[in-house]
Symmetry: C2
Subunit: 335 residues, 2 copies
């Protein structure tokens, strides 16, 4: 094994605005031999996610900033190629928060097995992983949609958004998606069963949303922030719930993120707005995975992936998230 | 009784921006004789409150807009001067949501007795009334301050704000007030026991708040919205709670109320922001009144009133709320 050459993506400077290739460096080095209790994991799928932009800043946040001159980390599914742990044998497929590199040599306790007979490997980075759980807990614990209510989700054609709308439907609510192309909107309605979808780039947003939500908005699952959220906030019903999951529209902003203040709207409607991260639900992950797995096996939940091929394109794939280039979960398949 | 002349304040046009005398008309007419089951209440104290500005607009809100050409209504403490109900006799002191007039002729069930031996009459419009309950439920149900946490309240020298800070202290938290004059700030610290107070009109707000809150902000009881709230939002700790009670800074705004968007801050800190009105706690009012009465009798809760004399000055008193002219509850004593 010691002849294996590794390739790693090292974080070398903090981006201002949209990250660029200059913020990263590809480095090569031999893969080190595992110590007792360690395993060598060959990367198969890498997850790229909007929250990673936050970790590239050194501002205080809910996750530690990435450190300069260290390998970027994220969710990875891979295969054990060498094991010095009795928990794993070569060929086992595992998932973990690992480094963006071809091989990770880590303590066995940092990865857990995934079962290809239940779902394809990539699903463990989307519907049966952090993505699915984020949609599940954000919508059901904070949003609490009731049958007949209207649930609006922004970033609806993204990995989390498309699950949010489908779970809303499972709960008997009306699902309205906001996305950035007509193709995405058509997909949401025709393939995933959303009741309506609005293209925020081409529509008169206030008008189109009002038409899509004739009974107002009871739950707004916010993935994007910015002007899209400003528009939804005008349609809130009394006691609306707003799980705030992401604000991708502002992540690369270098100017102040300024818009209509929400306070008066929140008072008038007695609405609740709550930020969350998946870690808040660590103790309930198993519950979420069981439910998601059940819905998946019953055919009630579809998921979509945009897969970019080749380790050399990890940064491209990450940057494409901010162009909205992905339908569903953005993944990189290591060549 | 039929010779009594009444004077009423009728709402004749909806204000744009700050209301003016032109939006109201004083009318005189004889007091009508009460029907069976009715009482005649002579007004003693009238409450003027910021939320009334909202009712003067016809926008959808949590309370019905005032109707044009009808008498404005609000909280009033008065004395029964004639009764056709066996529930009340002349001389009884009562409270109710009544019209801004010298006399109200209403069904007996619309008023309830208050006891002058427990607290002065005016207290039933402040600490032992809607004001006290608003502070109590907003802070304790949504804010949920824990011992050692930092509670910031804006509009701190207002009727609700000064109770919020004192209840925070009762619960063992650190109380920081934001108010608009040095006199108010000194009063909060020296008389009410706030740990710190910041004059938002003269201080470098970001700097002064950071100094007043060295451990960040766990609860922000928001009475004002606007730039003051923008500044507090920068200091939120993880899992902060923000009861949104009022946005007085925007009530008379004719321009859009624009400022830094809150979404990214809410996510980073996983904070909760929730609008509320007292009606949400209707079933728990008795609990609140008992607690407030206990703290009052134990000397743990002080309250303050700014009393304007004379029925003819009701509109003046209402408008002075928006200048921050009041310390504590703004009341009008009918001459």
């Amino acid at each position: 094994m010691s002849q294996l050459m590794n390739k790693s993506i090292v974080f070398v400077s903090r981006p201002v605005g949209l990250p660029s290739m200059d913020n990263f460096e590809f480095r090569e080095a031999p893969v080190q031999a595992p110590a007792e209790g360690q395993v060598v994991v060959r990367s198969i799928y890498l997850s790229v996610d909007p929250y990673m932009r936050g970790r590239m800043s050194d501002a205080k946040s809910y996750v530690e900033p990435y450190r300069l001159n260290e390998v970027i980390s994220g969710g990875i599914v891979g295969e054990i190629v060498e094991s010095k742990s009795d928990q794993f044998k070569p060929g086992d497929k595992v998932i973990g928060m690992l480094g963006w590199q071809l091989y990770n040599v880590v303590d066995a306790k940092l990865v857990r097995k995934v079962d290809e007979s239940i779902a394809p490997l990539s699903a463990y980075l989307s519907v049966l992983g952090l993505t699915g759980l984020t949609a599940y807990f954000g919508l059901l614990d904070i949003g609490q949609p009731k049958a007949g209510e209207t649930v609006v989700v922004s970033g609806a054609a993204g990995a989390v958004g498309m699950l949010v709308g489908q779970i809303a439907k499972i709960k008997g609510a009306r699902a309205v998606g906001i996305a950035g192309t007509d193709e995405k909107c058509a997909y949401l309605v025709n393939e995933l069963g959303f009741d309506a979808a609005v293209n925020y780039k081409t529509a008169d947003l206030d008008k189109a949303l009002a038409e899509a939500c004739p009974d107002g908005v009871d739950v707004y699952f916010d993935n994007v922030g910015g002007p899209v959220s400003d528009a939804v906030m005008n349609l809130l019903n009394d006691y609306a719930r707003i799980p705030v999951c992401g604000a991708i529209s502002s992540y690369n902003a270098t100017d102040a993120d300024v818009g209509p203040r929400v306070q008066a709207k929140i008072i008038k409607t007695r609405s609740l707005m709550k930020g969350f991260v998946l870690g808040d639900y660590a103790s309930r992950q198993q519950e979420g995975l069981v439910e998601l797995g059940k819905w998946l096996s019953e055919g009630k939940l579809k998921y979509e992936e945009t897969i970019i091929e080749g380790f050399d394109h990890v940064i491209d794939a990450f940057l494409k998230l901010f162009e909205g280039a992905n339908l569903g979960k953005m993944l990189v398949k290591v060549g």
